[in-house]
């Protein structure tokens, strides 16, 4: 067999091996996305309409500000802004906690690395609902933390139902998604690069700043993506740890679905998806060149 024919047959085998995944992706990713778009732009009798999209931007409701003054707000834009705020805070906290931790793991001995990675992943083996309930029992006014504070004769803290509690739940749930991609980039980093930086006059902090951080940027970008996307669309945590006071975009979609407003739910999901895709494209554009191409 000549080289070209062999190359072709390898390509054919590769295509065949990919076929099941392609089918899976089409059936479970592409088709549902198509349905979301279809529902978003149709009414109950499946006629084309933009009413659902318009409704997202125009629905208003009255809220009472902290000073007791009633104010008219655009409901879904407010919910969206709130989701974004909590997600960004959680993502920043995950990054601040996860980055140093990933660095420590990657610097540890081979055996310690394995143990630490397992410890990071163990919580992920438990059901997400159970983990959230566990945080409820910890944070409640009569929960474990407050019982403990009481034993020490310290004043009780009101935690459940605050933004802080929601953020804690989100950080706890999504932290592994920040640690793992950063760790995997750092673990693959050539030890010799770190030695070279030392050799060329960098102290430990210089090595971190000038070599480790820039080279770990691909891990940071994927970590941010993997935390930001699910945390912006989260819904259950806000209901349980926020006592339903912090209605998020995920909660909105869920309640529209359960109320059988499939078309409006799809419209929210569709707008949300477009915003996320745009944000990710922007992030890739901003970080991509510097991270992957080199040159400053």
């Amino acid at each position: 067999m000549n080289r070209k024919a062999r190359g072709d047959s390898i390509a054919a085998v590769q295509r065949a091996a990919l076929a099941p995944y392609t089918v899976w992706a089409v059936v479970f990713i592409v088709v549902p996305l198509f349905f979301i778009a279809y529902y978003a732009f149709t009414d109950d009798s499946f006629r084309f309409t933009t009413a659902n999209i318009v409704r997202f931007f125009t629905t208003t409701s009255e809220v009472v500000t902290e000073k007791g003054i009633p104010r008219e707000v655009r409901t879904y834009l407010l919910i969206f802004a709130r989701s974004l705020k909590l997600a960004v805070i959680s993502t920043i906290l995950c990054l601040l906690l996860g980055y140093p931790f990933a660095y420590l793991i990657s610097r540890a001995g081979a055996r310690a690395q394995k143990t630490m990675i397992t410890l990071v992943m163990v919580p992920m083996w438990m059901n997400f609902l159970i983990r959230t309930y566990a945080w409820m029992t910890l944070l409640q006014d009569t929960g474990l933390i407050n019982s403990f504070l009481g034993m020490l004769h310290l004043p009780a803290l009101h935690m459940i139902g605050t933004e802080g509690a929601v953020v804690v739940g989100m950080v706890y749930d999504y932290l592994p998604y920040m640690i793992l991609p950063i760790y995997s980039v750092m673990a693959k980093m050539d030890e010799k690069l770190i030695e070279a930086a030392h050799d060329l006059g960098c102290s430990s902090s210089g090595v971190l700043r000038r070599v480790v951080v820039p080279l770990s940027m691909p891990g940071v970008v994927s970590g941010i993506t993997m935390v930001l996307v699910p945390s912006i669309s989260t819904f259950y945590i806000s209901q349980k740890l926020g006592n339903g006071k912090f209605y998020l975009i995920g909660d909105a979609i869920e309640s529209q679905y359960t109320a059988n407003n499939l078309h409006f739910a799809a419209a929210i999901a569709f707008i949300f998806m477009i915003v996320l895709l745009a944000a990710m494209a922007l992030m890739r554009k901003l970080t991509g060149r510097r991270v992957y191409e080199g040159g400053m």
């Binding site: 050539d190 010799k192 030695e195 060329l200 210089g206 000038r210 080279l215 040159g295 400053m296």
Partner: protein, 372 residues
């Protein structure tokens, strides 16, 4: 000449295995010193101790009279060119070379001037904006050298820097490195397992085996006066024959008494006799001091390499005259072709070409290259 680095009784073990066994070595300013030895002999560990990447179990590293055992790498006036260059993939050529200066907060105009000067030194002018990951091996090598030299270290450590290059490029870079060393006057400590490289580039060669220094000397000394069978075999090709020193300048081997130039041995002391393959004269059998049968001939380009069976011992001889397999030949040895060595732990381990084959040699070389 001034001693720039002194290694005193350096000992180092990894997981209970002794890698360096009481190394004592003086390195002089401005010299090109090569640490030569097979894979796993400890030569890279010596380099890492000088660079500050390892700490010795015992012994001291002295730099210009000062003990620097506990000085971290970034505070030593020593820079390293790593085996696979270790260029920073996120920085371009300019920024890689400027890296040490940026750390020292050198003014921008001076950085510009010094980077330019360094790139000129390594003949990479015009490559400033290039991505280092897209350079050829030889170009990456030059960037690594420029980066290591820009902060004017007193000593440059080079860890098998040419092993990843192909033969032609390796030859060019040998000349290039020698030129850079002479132009800058910086002391080079060069690690290699390639004896030809060591012979052609060095002022001083340090032959290392099993974590111990076997011999220190100029390339000519090391080649002509090896101290033991290991050095004789590792540097070039050698026939190493058992002999008896009858008296000063008279050695008996293979049933014949030869005149030689060596003296100072006990009477009738058993010795190792080294004869380099190119120093053997082939003559008709009746005129030979020794007689043998040719068992193999390999054409090497410049010369033929023939294997001759002399009284059961296989010699390697390099000759420009053609002889055929199974031919009977005689050989003559001039007194200066014979080098006598004291018996050592390596006696009997090297210098017999009974199992010699070029192919085997290449295979074992290829294997050992990946190890260090």
């Amino acid at each position: 000449m001034q001693k720039i680095i002194e290694l005193k009784n350096l000992t180092k073990s990894f997981d209970g295995e002794v890698v360096l066994d009481h190394i004592n070595l003086d390195i002089y300013d401005h010299e090109f010193l090569t640490l030569l030895g097979p894979s796993g002999c400890g030569k890279t560990t010596i380099l890492r101790l000088i660079g500050g990447f390892e700490t010795a179990d015992e012994g001291d590293v002295i730099f210009l009279g000062e003990r620097i055992n506990d000085v971290p790498p970034h505070k030593r006036q020593v820079n390293t060119v790593f085996q696979k260059y270790a260029l920073f993939p996120h920085l371009n050529v300019y920024e890689n070379v400027a890296f040490p200066l940026r750390e020292k907060k050198v003014p921008k105009s001076e950085i510009d001037a010094r980077v330019k000067e360094m790139l000129q030194l390594v003949t990479l002018t015009g490559f400033e904006k290039r991505n280092v990951t897209r350079l050829s091996g030889g170009q990456q090598q030059r960037v690594a050298i420029a980066r290591a030299l820009i902060s004017h270290p007193r000593v440059l450590l080079l860890d098998e820097p040419l092993s990843a290059l192909d033969l032609k490029l390796r030859k060019d870079m040998q000349t290039e490195l020698k030129r850079i060393q002479q132009a800058t006057g910086i002391t080079f400590v060069f690690v290699t397992h390639d004896q030809e490289e060591a012979l052609s580039m060095s002022d001083t060669i340090v032959v290392i085996s099993g974590g111990r220094i076997q011999q220190i000397g100029t390339p000519i000394d090391i080649y002509n006066e090896p101290v033991n069978a290991f050095v004789a075999d590792f540097i070039g090709e050698s026939n190493i024959v058992d002999g008896i020193m009858l008296s000063d300048c008279h050695v008996r081997m293979a049933g014949h008494t030869f005149d030689c130039l060596d003296a100072g041995f006990d009477q009738n002391e058993p010795v190792d006799v080294v004869i380099r393959p190119e120093d053997v004269d082939i003559v008709p059998p009746e005129k030979g001091m020794l007689r043998g049968v040719v068992t193999g001939v390999t054409f090497m380009g410049v010369h033929y390499e023939i294997i001759v069976d002399i009284a059961g011992f296989k010699w390697m001889i390099q000759t420009t005259d053609f002889v055929d397999v199974d031919e009977h030949i005689g050989i003559r040895l001039e007194p200066d072709a014979i080098h006598i060595m004291k018996k050592s732990e390596f006696s009997g381990m090297f210098g017999d070409y009974s199992s010699f084959s070029n192919e085997l040699d290449e295979l074992s070389n290829a294997e050992s290259e990946g190890e260090e």
